[in-house]
Every structure is written in C-alpha cells, then in structure tokens.
Symmetry: C2
Subunit: 190 residues, 2 copies
C-alpha cells in the first residue's frame, strides 16, 4: 500500500469505488459491492452519504475538474480556435483507445438514469454544459457563421463518437477529425 | 379489454412489458416488476425464458422489424439517395419529439449493458448494423467520395442526436438536417 492509499479515508475510498464500479458496470451497481470495493461498512457509508444517489453524484463531481483540465486546451495557448476544438476531439480519440473504455461517463450516467432531476444527472449535465460553452466560445472566436449551431454540432459528434466507441462498434479511426473538419469548414472556421 | 389484449398470451405480454419497462427505467428493472406488468407469475416467466437476459433480447428482437420498416424509406420509392438518407433523420427528429422519448433503445441497451457479448447487445447491434448498411448502400448509390466514411458519419450523427435528445439536453430543432446536409455536401452526395 502506498502512502497515498494509506491516507485515503472512507469518504475518498467510497467516491473512488463509485466512480470505478458505475463506469464499469452501470448505475445499478449495488451498495454492497460499492462498500466492499471501498472497504467501508454500509453503516459508515450512510453516515457519509444520504443515499447511493448522493454518493454517485459526489463521485462524478469530484472527478470533473481533473477531467475538464485533461480534455480542454489551456486557456492561454496560442493555437487557433479550429486547433483548440480539434484538440478536444484528439483527447476523445486517445481516450477511446484505452482498455475498458465505455464511452463518456457523463453521457452514460444520464442515459442510464433516464431522469434529468437525479442529482448525478445534474452533475453530469453541468460537466457537458461546460464543454458546450467551450465549443461555443471557440466557435464565436473563430468567426463561425452560426456559433450556436456549430457548438451543438460539435456536442453531437462528441457524444455520438464516445457512445459508439464505448459500445465497441466503431474505433473512430479516420472518422472524428474529418467529420469535425467538414463541420468547421461549413461554418467558415478555418 | 380489447379483443387483441384478450388474445395476448403470457409470452407476448412479457415481451411487451420488457420492452416498455427497460426503455422507461433501464435494464436493471427487476423480474418482479416485469412479471407484475405482464400479469404473469415468475414461474411462468421461467418456463418461457431461460433468464431475464433472454427475455430482454427476445423483446428487442420482436420489436425490430416494425422499427426498421418505420425508420427506413420503402425500397421502391423514387427519391434520391440524399432524400432517402434525410428521411431517416426526419423520422428520428419526429420520434425524439414524442413524450417519454429516451433515445434510441438499441443504443441505450448497449450503453447500459456494457457487454457486447450479452444476447440483448447482440440483437441491438444487429439492428443498428442494418441501419449502417442502409446508409452505406445509399452513400454508394449517391456517388459519395468515401461511402464507408459517410456511413460511419451518419451513424455518429444518428446516435449522437438520439442520445442528446433522449437525455433532454437538445431538442434537435434546426440541428440534424443542416448537419447531415453538410456531411452529404462534403461527400459529394447532392
């Protein structure tokens, strides 16, 4: 056991177990499995979280900042809006090639929960809205003819690509960049 | 009770309950809920289906021919490949505006199961592969510069659009037709 692992308390271990198991197995993963993975008693879990729903929402929230930093280019890089948009899709492509990839977790959780008012759906939607705002800002900065439309198109491609790679029906090779490129061309973002 | 309902046997009622409840609530819906909805005992269910997995696969399989007929244009209409491709996306748009829409069931079930070898994933994938073949054939007939690429792009849009409308983050208004139009233009399918 490393120092970091030794230091992780029951709350951190539950958050990590929830992120890991719901991504791998889906939101129906049982409380018993979560507690077992975390090495925490059910009693302790319920002292830390009101419900499995709250635990799931908190686990998505905890992982979101690191995900966003990883996904988006830094604010101060000197690349063009087109390059900065393509950077995000490059990240998606590289992530989709990793073993155990099941698609974007923030999309999957919303599809699985089928309830936009669920606390975890709200967190997931917030993360994706952040991505849409990034696309919208870059589209505007890049002089897109219709920045709202372009932003919605890029979200469509992002979610479609992550979903199809996540279920193993398309490896995205040679697909995402040309598609995004066509849409950027159509919008006049060169 | 109508004559049709009176005639539906336990097998048909189970297939219908499985289709309805898994679409509305997800694949984790319990056997008890399925049997209750169908008005069938658990014992009878297990006489008809080996497992909930088999029931789910059979329910997807039963609904697939009607879905495909509804989604695709008839083989003998005299519209252009471009119009025939856009017909499918028109169907998707109109379906996404219906109450209780949760996205394409054949996509959702694969995302939820996270297991391409699950019998229901196989059925769902088969249905989507049929759509991809339709796109591929029309792309080729329409003189697309790269029919394989165009077909994959159209699947990306189809699944991205159904996923985003299904979770209620985009109503697809003014989005799908222009996006598909841009990709058809890029591929030279006029």
């Amino acid at each position: 056991m490393t120092t970091t692992e030794a230091k992780a308390g029951p709350r951190e271990r539950l958050l990590e177990a929830a992120a890991l198991l719901t991504y791998r197995e889906g939101i129906s993963v049982g409380i018993q499995a979560l507690c077992q993975e975390a090495g925490v008693s059910k009693r302790s879990m319920y002292q830390l979280f009101d419900s499995k729903d709250e635990l799931l929402a908190a686990s998505l929230e905890q992982g979101a900042p690191a995900y966003t930093v990883w996904l988006l280019p830094t604010a101060d890089d000197d690349r063009s809006p087109r390059e900065r948009i393509l950077h995000v899709f490059g990240r998606l492509e590289s992530q989709s090639a990793t073993p155990g990839y099941h698609g974007c977790q923030y999309l999957a959780v919303q599809i699985e929960l089928k309830d936009p008012t669920h606390p975890a759906s709200r967190v997931a939607r917030g993360v994706k809205d952040g991505l849409a705002r990034f696309f919208r800002a870059e589209a505007e900065r890049g002089g897109a003819s219709d920045p709202d439309l372009l932003s919605r198109q890029l979200m469509l491609i992002f979610d479609g690509a992550s979903a199809r790679a996540g279920i193993g029906v398309d490896d995205l090779t040679g697909l995402v960049s040309p598609t995004v490129g066509s849409l950027l061309d159509s919008a006049g973002v060169h």
